[in-house]
Symmetry: C2
């Protein structure tokens, strides 16, 4: 089964303690698609400008990603500039140029309308909803968001949450959306907004998954070097949904294993700048680190 | 097999978002001993003043704890006053009265000298070393410390670390001791100072255990309410060493399970002020939460 992602395709300029990178390939849809591409066929929906190089598009197609849903518009590509602190878990947005993203109205190719595993990357909830309306039936609808939309488009986001199966967000976003500091209370409150599952990303501390019936907690894969955390969350979601699409296993166990696969993919992403490491892996390499993850967390044997 | 702990016996005054408590029973040896007492016989070494009530001593003996190593000296008992922030992971020390602790020179009763599982609670490394010298042979020597000793008694602490099997500390202490921000690098650096194992406590984010051959990562038990984190780390160590003494299993698997038992004990501690919840549990209650912990983290079935 295949995975569909709608989100940003961007140029990222990154300043981090380990170095700098200027106008490299970025965006939620890019990271998600590349992460998912090791597991299942991926279809991408997004917008680029006149300045977006063919090389980057070729990168997607080389990974077998269907880019029929990427449209090129007049103007420049979305550009984000961020600066990471010495404490790599913190970053500031230095520049944000929406450019062609400002007028983004995704129109899904007909071939995309039967998508079963759909990921709504972090964009305006109105656009996210618009995409949902264009798809005939779905097996799993997963959504990401961020503090900006929680603050500025709260009503639209809440409307969307009633249709979403799983919400993926980080802990500060969960606190903001719920109004609770305690993360368990925050998650339970968000579950009452609609989603059957809430997945809370905690960066180097791992992931918490909440549903009405259970909680799953898993640490992150410990790394000696974190060069650039950009895209960790989106490639995590890509690995997660790719694995779900590969197996079709939506049982509690299947979901938990998919979360671990997502964590494994994200652990590669942060090992180098941008998508550099993420495009340089393979399913056997992912499987090997998954086995290490099992050893890392096992206390039964 | 029995467990020996040397550390503080104190009055704690606590200000937290959930409420306040004045001069309640506290101290590293108290929390450790109570936590360990559900698993194995415990022997306590510490000092109290004239103002320390018989009730508190009775509490220890009711839990089967051997208090022959607690001496009562002229003066008042060690008193700590701390204030927790809205973010319960942060606290400030408001008052610190060493009182009788200033002159503490532990002299182990003869009956203690064959102790096999020894925990050196967070006190002056010179005192910690003095205790080690009084014990004939040990199966496992575990040590805790804090930022103050890392800064002010660095040489004494490093000398002690060469004799210690396992060092238990939190992530900011690991960063301070090692000079590395990255926690994996920090742990590897500390391993080179002597301990065969380093255990890094991350509060609500769980625990990382490092040895030369492996890393073990486990999340914390998620709680809807954290009233008072005081003593979480010490009761964690108590549960850990109690379980090791109960089973005598020092294999990698045995150590990992003991870490989970420690996390379970700590999860009870923070559910109420001071030792209130910690003295109100039982081994079956601990075992029940351990099983829930297994379910919480399992992604194989």
């Amino acid at each position: 089964m295949s995975v569909l992602v709608v989100g940003t395709v961007a140029f990222d300029s990154i300043e981090a303690p380990a170095g700098c990178a200027e106008r490299i390939l970025g965006g939620s849809a890019s990271y998600f698609a590349l992460g998912a591409s090791y597991f299942a066929p991926v279809r991408m929906v997004g917008v680029i400008g006149q300045d977006f190089p063919q090389d980057h598009l070729d990168l997607f197609t080389q990974r077998g990603i269907d880019i029929a849903g990427i449209t090129r518009e007049q103007g420049d590509t979305f550009h984000w500039r961020g600066r990471y602190h010495e404490d790599i878990n913190q970053r500031d947005t230095i520049e944000l140029h929406l450019n062609v993203l400002a007028g983004f109205k995704p129109k899904l190719p007909d071939s995309y309308r039967d998508a079963e595993f759909v990921f709504l990357g972090n964009i305006d909830p109105v656009i996210q909803m618009d995409v949902v309306d264009q798809i005939r039936h779905m097996k799993l609808l997963v959504c990401d968001t961020m503090d900006y939309w929680i603050r500025e488009s709260n009503a639209d986001l809440k409307k969307l949450l009633q249709r979403v199966e799983m919400l993926v967000l980080n802990d500060s976003e969960a606190r903001l959306l719920s109004g609770y500091d305690n993360i368990v209370k925050a998650a339970r409150t968000i579950l009452r907004m609609g989603p059957k599952m809430v997945l809370i990303k905690r960066g180097e501390y791992g992931v918490l998954q909440f549903s009405d019936s259970a909680i799953f907690a898993t640490p992150a894969y410990p790394l000696e070097e974190v060069f650039d955390p950009t895209g960790a969350g989106d490639s995590f979601a890509g690995g997660l949904m790719g694995q779900l699409a590969r197996t079709g296993d939506l049982s509690q166990g299947g979901l938990r294993r998919a979360i671990v696969y997502g964590s494994v993919v994200a652990s590669f992403t942060v090992e180098d700048f941008g998508v550099k490491r993420l495009i340089d892996i393979s399913l056997p390499v992912i499987e090997e680190r998954y086995r290490r993850f099992v050893e890392l967390t096992d206390f039964h044997s």
